[in-house]
């Protein structure tokens, strides 16, 4: 059958292609290891300014909460409005800007609170 022929050929070629793919995967693995993914949360005024309640942001490994905030300010310049009045929370706890981020961390932008 016509379908057999190309299948066999591709499996022969496939071995070297597979090796290439594996090499590429290894490269991208190194790339993945050197960057981390942070989930950013926006509440209240921060949500109004970004138009989003959350977003995912890729940061180089070793980045701090402050670095991530800087990147968010570049991505969402409107956030500048609250940059001097907000505070950050990392994984549900208030955090200093110098705190180093870990992969999958949840970084919340906390505009001035007004509960009660």
């Amino acid at each position: 059958m016509a379908t057999e022929q190309p299948k066999d050929t591709s499996s022969v070629h496939g071995t070297s292609e597979l090796i290439e793919i594996l090499k590429e995967n290894d490269k991208s693995k190194v790339h993945i290891n050197s960057s981390i993914e942070i989930k950013a949360l926006f509440f209240a005024r921060a949500r109004d300014l970004t138009g989003l309640s959350k977003t995912s942001i890729e940061m180089p490994e070793g980045s701090t909460a402050g670095d991530c905030m800087s990147k968010l300010l570049t991505k969402f310049p409107n956030l500048e409005e609250i940059s001097n009045s907000m505070i950050l929370a990392l994984s549900e706890k208030y955090a200093l800007e110098s705190t180093v981020l870990k992969n999958t961390d949840e970084l919340a932008i906390i505009p001035p609170i007004s509960g009660g």
Binding site: K93, A108, G116
Partner: protein
């Protein structure tokens, strides 16, 4: 024995707050006093007619902060039982957005802890309200949060901030009672400590 901290009733609700539920929770045969505080939607702000308040929260973190505040209150005053509820969504004029209830053998402990808890809610619990007027709306900002934030960001290094946080926390534990009694601006310091208390993210004193 007073009820354990794990028995504190801490809830964030979307429906009207059932005051009775929380007051009954803190009712205790060994208590000689139950103090409650209810924060309600006022119909005017600086002359503008308020239609309603709309609340939202970072719920898991708000619950953590409320638990920490209750633990701090238990450490500072001799309490039997504690309950705190915050409502989210639309809170019409006249209805409660927040309720704090504390019981103690003696009224001073119950009253002061109640005052401390509502101040902590204002300063460090991530909840936001939008005030909706007949002709516009605005996100509100609690003065207590601004005070607390300033005391965390005026220090230049993280080590200095951590040291300041630790310092403030100690003064909170020893001094909160006096400060709240005075009812003066210094009371905000204890709120600041509440905010800073979570800064390091690994506070062994808080049952997070």
């Amino acid at each position: 024995m007073a009820a354990a901290a794990e028995e504190d009733l801490i809830e964030i609700v979307e429906a009207p707050i059932e005051v009775r539920r929380y007051v009954d929770h803190v009712r205790d045969p060994a208590a000689g006093a139950i103090a409650t505080f209810e924060g309600t939607t006022r119909d005017t702000f600086e002359g503008r007619r308020v239609v309603e308040l709309r609340y939202e929260a970072y719920v898991p973190m708000a619950l953590r902060r409320l638990r920490a505040a209750c633990a701090d209150a238990r450490a500072a005053w001799s309490l039997r039982r504690v309950a705190v509820a915050h409502r989210l969504g639309v809170v019409p004029v006249g209805e409660a957005s927040v309720l704090v209830a504390a019981s103690a053998a003696h009224r001073a402990d119950a009253l002061e802890a109640c005052r401390f808890l509502i101040d902590e809610v204002k300063a460090s619990v991530p909840v936001w309200k939008k005030e909706v007027y007949e002709d516009g709306e605005v996100w509100k900002e609690n003065a207590e949060f601004i005070h607390a934030r300033m005391s965390t960001t005026t220090t230049t290094t993280s080590a200095a901030a951590a040291a300041a946080a630790a310092q403030d926390k100690r003064s909170c534990c020893c001094g909160a009672k006096v400060k709240v009694e005075e009812g003066k601006e210094e009371a905000h310091h204890s709120n600041g400590a509440g905010l800073e208390g979570g800064l390091e993210g690994s506070d062994p004193d808080r049952p997070l």
